[in-house]
Each structure stands twice: as structure tokens, then as C-alpha cells.
Symmetry: C2
């Protein structure tokens, strides 16, 4: 076993988590600075999001001087997995293939992305049959 207690992370909270995953431990001010600009959120809003993420167990913090340094307590991969499986089961009854078909038909992948996907599939074909 491994995951299990990955909390639910809302839309706005994902923005915060992506930042923390991407840039490592951050103090609130850094998060505010990045997100306020990008999403036009008030600093208060960002603080609230940080708080909720801590309460949910998605973030932890260390007190350094009079600042909090936030760091992720759950891996990005675990969260992605949770979201993906919820998305797939809600929309595609749990199967990934129809989802991919849909992406191909509607999300307008660039030729480069299509080539990239082909090579990913080539790789996958060679090791089919793992657990």
C-alpha cells in the first residue's frame, strides 16, 4: 500500500500546491507574490488557502523566525493520481482510453505533442504486461 489519505484539493488550492511542488519550501509572502500577480487574488485569499491546505494535511510548515515556511506533505504524483481517478470515473466510467480519445479529438494537440505521445506509446508497448 502507499497513498490512501490524499486529501481533496480544490481548484484554487491546486494553484498553491503546484507552486510549492515546483519551487520547494516557500514562505507565505512568496506564495502571495506569485499567485496574487498571476491570479489576481488578495493576499488574504492566499493565506486562507495556505491555512486550509495545512488543515487538510497537504502542506506542513516550520516556524522560522516569525515566518512560516510551507512545504508539501503529499506528493504531486499522489494528488494527480487522486484527481485523475476521480475525473476518469466521473466522466468516463473509469477508463482512460476514451479519455485519451477525447483529448486527441478536442484538445488540439500540437504535432510535436502527437509525436511525443507516439513515442510514449511505443515505449509502453514494449513493456506491456506489468502488474
Amino acid at each position: 500500500m502507499a497513498k490512501a489519505n490524499v486529501p481533496q484539493i480544490s481548484d484554487a488550492e491546486w494553484e498553491v500546491m503546484k507552486l510549492v511542488w515546483g519551487r520547494g519550501p516557500l514562505v507565505a509572502a512568496d506564495v502571495v507574490e506569485s499567485l496574487a500577480a498571476q491570479n489576481r487574488w488578495s493576499p488574504r485569499t492566499v493565506k486562507t488557502l495556505l491555512n486550509r491546505l495545512v488543515r487538510k494535511g497537504a502542506l506542513g510548515y516550520q516556524v522560522v523566525g516569525r515566518h512560516y515556511v510551507y512545504r508539501a506533505q503529499v506528493t504531486r504524483d499522489a494528488c494527480v493520481r487522486r484527481e485523475s481517478s476521480s475525473f476518469l470515473s466521473r466522466v468516463f466510467n473509469g477508463s482512460a482510453a476514451p479519455a485519451l480519445v477525447h483529448f486527441l479529438e478536442h484538445e488540439y494537440l500540437s504535432p510535436e505533442e502527437i509525436e511525443r505521445m507516439r513515442s510514449i506509446l511505443d515505449g509502453a508497448r514494449e513493456q506491456e504486461g506489468r502488474p
Copy 2:
């Protein structure tokens, strides 16, 4: 242009919509019957969901005798598109390719599905560059 006002559809509401899309116009009792068994929902709960979907514009109804016959007002495809793009942007910053990688790594597509994806990609490659 085309879509735009596809309403947000919640998890529980998706169950209702999938039923209506799959089986065509239904009276409330049919929906209740299918979903109460499957999801252990009270009939009231199902009624509430139907109501909310009507209010959102996702379902419409015709009064037939003293029953309502519900039918979809939005296509499944439009809703799938909305969900997909929200999912992709929330979790993968909007690109489908990383989503594919994730599905391949974790959702265990069958070899047949992988082959199917390949042939779809072959098709996609040939007509790359439409809107």
C-alpha cells in the same frame, strides 16, 4: 463558436446525466429506480439532483400527464469537453500529453487499448493543423 454555456455538473449530477444521455428521455421514477439501486440514494436525493440540473439548464422536461419527462439540454460531448479542459488545466497546466503519460504509468491501459491509441494517433498525424 459553439458551446460556452455548458453548466458545471457535480459528481452526483454526472450520474444522472449519464443515465439520461444513455437511455434517452426518462421520467423521474426511471431515474430514481436506476440510481437508487446503484448508488443507494433516496428518491428525494434523486429528485433534488433532477431539479438542480433543470435549474442549471442541463436538463429540460415536458409534462406528460402528471409526470415530467426529462431530457438532456446539453450534449454529453460538450460536458465532457468542459470537464476535460478543467481537469487538464487544474492538474496538468492544460496539456494533454502529461496526462497521457500519467495514465500510461498508473491506469494500466491494456495492450489493445494501447494499439487503439496508436492508430488514432496515426489518424491524427495526418490531419494535423485544423482549428
